[in-house]
């Protein structure tokens, strides 16, 4: 392993569209940038493994579509940008604002290390919105995003009786990818409510500026609806089975139905993955329309911590094209902050027309695919909300009704959110359920307090970590080198 700069000027977390664009732009301006990425290759979730698919599985490339293929160009630019790239590296903490120095805790190849950048850009992307419903913990129930990841990383196609449930652009995109590859799901159980006036009103401006994207989307929807039976306004979705999913029951148009299924793929849109930002103490607020927590952002990506910026879907769900455009703009903003001491602070770069056009498109998509009420506030009290500790919606409602003031106290009293996922799959639901019981806004109800380490690290890995300026002796490699394979994790 090559030497890793312990004090890069800028560290970028995540090598998706936003992270790559920001890193390219900064590196091309002569800034020393280091990109930390959990994945083995650049691309993030949206362009995941695009290089490998291109080289090894060109037939899958056809199924994955034009937007995915477009990622190859950015990945190639990133590879040649001069930005440092650390794949297979997780970030488990960013030190608190009160600490003497900005630092980022990394884990690579079993070795933990602190890096001390001047500036951090978080490009941690999105995650799928939690979709609690009875039976969603059964093996064989997965997210649409998970199935798509399996297609990108390993060329896995669902086989047997497949049912898709929920809603959102990704669900229809994936259904179309399956059809292109010759796989036909049994049904799509669409939970989307009736199209609102707001959605219709936002359609025209979007159509005016982004006719191509919208027509492409309409094309998929038409292809999908022509080949796969679609049930509309689905509620009362349940996955049934003893040891794994065997069937799916639901209601549509006042009728109850049951379908056999060995794979149930669910999706209800995506939300920013805020765990690292929250653990870093960055201020967030609850976005009513998107029904999710988003960081407070000024300018392009400035947060409540001056040295930490956020960009891409981690800042607000806007999709890959916006993430790239914003990544470029953020690079200028950060450059202005870094060079500010030596010269005038650059003004926030103006929004290019392409960005405004994309925003109109995204605005329409959000209004056309609002989060499903059925998943937001699971009506059935037996629905497991916290998958890790198996806490139900009923238990959350009960402790809230007994006077429990918020999610942190509910966590302390019920263990919800205390398991290995650290609340990623229940935080939103718990805040929303408690807000409902107390009849206050979700914003007022608040969110779990998120603390490091937010990615897995073992006791031994943390114990062996050298700190800056410390006598490390033989305990670990000196700072400035990343540990070579198995050096410090197996030394005992």
């Amino acid at each position: 392993m090559n030497a890793v700069p312990v004090r890069p000027e800028v560290a970028v977390v995540g090598a998706g569209p936003a992270g790559m664009a920001a890193a390219c732009s900064l590196a091309e301006s002569g800034v020393e940038v280091l990109v930390l990425d959990e994945q083995p290759a650049p691309g993030g979730q949206v362009y995941r493994e695009v290089e490998k698919v291109h080289e090894q599985r060109p037939e899958d490339l056809a199924a994955l579509g034009t937007q995915y293929r477009a990622g190859l160009e950015l990945v190639r630019r990133f590879r040649h940008s001069g930005a440092g790239y650390l794949p297979r590296t997780s970030v488990w903490e960013i030190t608190a604002a009160s600490e003497p120095e900005l630092a980022i805790g990394t884990l690579h190849d079993g070795a933990a290390q602190m890096l001390y950048p001047r500036h951090i850009i978080l490009a941690t992307g999105a995650m799928e919105r939690p979709t609690p419903f009875p039976g969603w913990t059964l093996p064989g129930v997965m997210t649409v995003g998970a199935a798509q990841t399996l297609l990108k990383t390993s060329g896995l196609m669902p086989a047997g009786r497949i049912v898709l449930a929920g809603t959102g652009p990704l669900l229809y995109l994936y259904a179309n990818q399956l059809l292109t590859a010759g796989t036909r799901p049994e049904a799509i159980l669409d939970t989307r409510p009736a199209t609102s006036m707001g959605a219709l009103a936002s359609l025209l401006p979007a159509l005016a500026v982004q006719p191509g994207a919208l027509l492409r989307g309409l094309g998929w929807m038409r292809a999908v609806r022509g080949s796969i039976p679609v049930s509309s306004r689905v509620t009362a979705l349940k996955a049934l089975g003893d040891e794994r999913v065997a069937s799916v029951s639901y209601e549509s148009a006042g009728q109850s139905h049951e379908l056999q299924a060995e794979l149930l793929l669910v999706h209800d849109g995506v939300i920013p993955n805020t765990w690292l930002a929250m653990a870093a103490g960055i201020q967030h607020h609850f976005d009513q329309r998107q029904a999710c927590w988003v960081p407070d952002v000024r300018g392009v990506g400035r947060t409540s911590r001056e040295s930490i910026a956020i960009v891409g879907d981690g800042a607000a769900i806007q999709g890959a094209e916006v993430a790239i455009l914003q990544g470029e703009r953020l690079a200028h903003e950060v450059l202005g902050q870094l060079r500010g001491a030596k010269g005038p602070v650059l003004p926030t770069p103006v929004e290019p027309p392409a960005l405004r056009q994309q925003r109109l498109l995204q605005r329409f998509l959000k209004r056309y695919f609002p989060p499903s009420a059925y998943f937001q506030l699971p009506p059935d009290d037996s629905t497991i909300v916290c998958r890790c500790e198996e806490i139900t919606a009923g238990e959350i409602r009960k402790v809230a009704a007994l006077g429990c003031v918020g999610p942190n106290q509910a966590k302390a009293f019920t263990r919800c959110g205390m398991g290995p996922c650290m609340g990623r799959k229940c935080a939103l639901t718990v805040s929303q359920l408690m807000a409902q019981v107390h009849d206050v806004s979700v914003e007022e109800m608040g969110h779990y307090r998120i603390r490091p380490p937010i990615r897995p690290i073992t006791v031994g890995q943390l114990a062996d970590m050298p700190m800056t300026g410390e006598e490390t002796g033989s305990a670990a490699d000196p700072p400035g080198k990343f540990a070579s394979a198995n050096s410090s994790s197996s030394k005992r």
Binding site: T137, G140, G145, S154, G155, P158, E389, E390, C421
Partner: protein, 98 residues
């Protein structure tokens, strides 16, 4: 549940419990097990209910498995290795351990 779009050229052999699994180089452990028809990876520690991968991007921790010499890891974020011995996590369920 899943099939591979392409045949495996140079297989990586590993074991899940007592089952021999053929994986493709670069597969995540979760992908390799799913492709081999394994859907149950572990038991939920509270009820003992069976669980398998859910999100595939490291967020849900449903795909936890135990690897010899490595402890309990997320199968979706772990690359397959030749000869790897993988188990359902031991001692995380009620009534187990001791």
């Amino acid at each position: 549940m899943y099939r591979r779009s392409a045949a495996i050229a140079e297989p990586v052999i590993l074991w899940f419990e007592d089952r021999k699994i053929m994986a493709a180089p670069g597969d995540s452990l979760a992908a390799a097990l799913l492709a081999a028809g394994v859907s149950v990876f572990r038991r939920a520690p509270v009820s003992g209910a069976k669980r398998g991968p859910f999100c595939m991007i490291g967020n849900c921790f449903e795909c936890l498995v135990e690897i010899d010499g490595q402890g309990v890891v997320q199968a979706c974020s772990t690359e397959v290795r030749q000869g790897m011995r993988v188990y359902m996590p031991r001692g995380q369920s009620p009534g187990e351990g001791d």
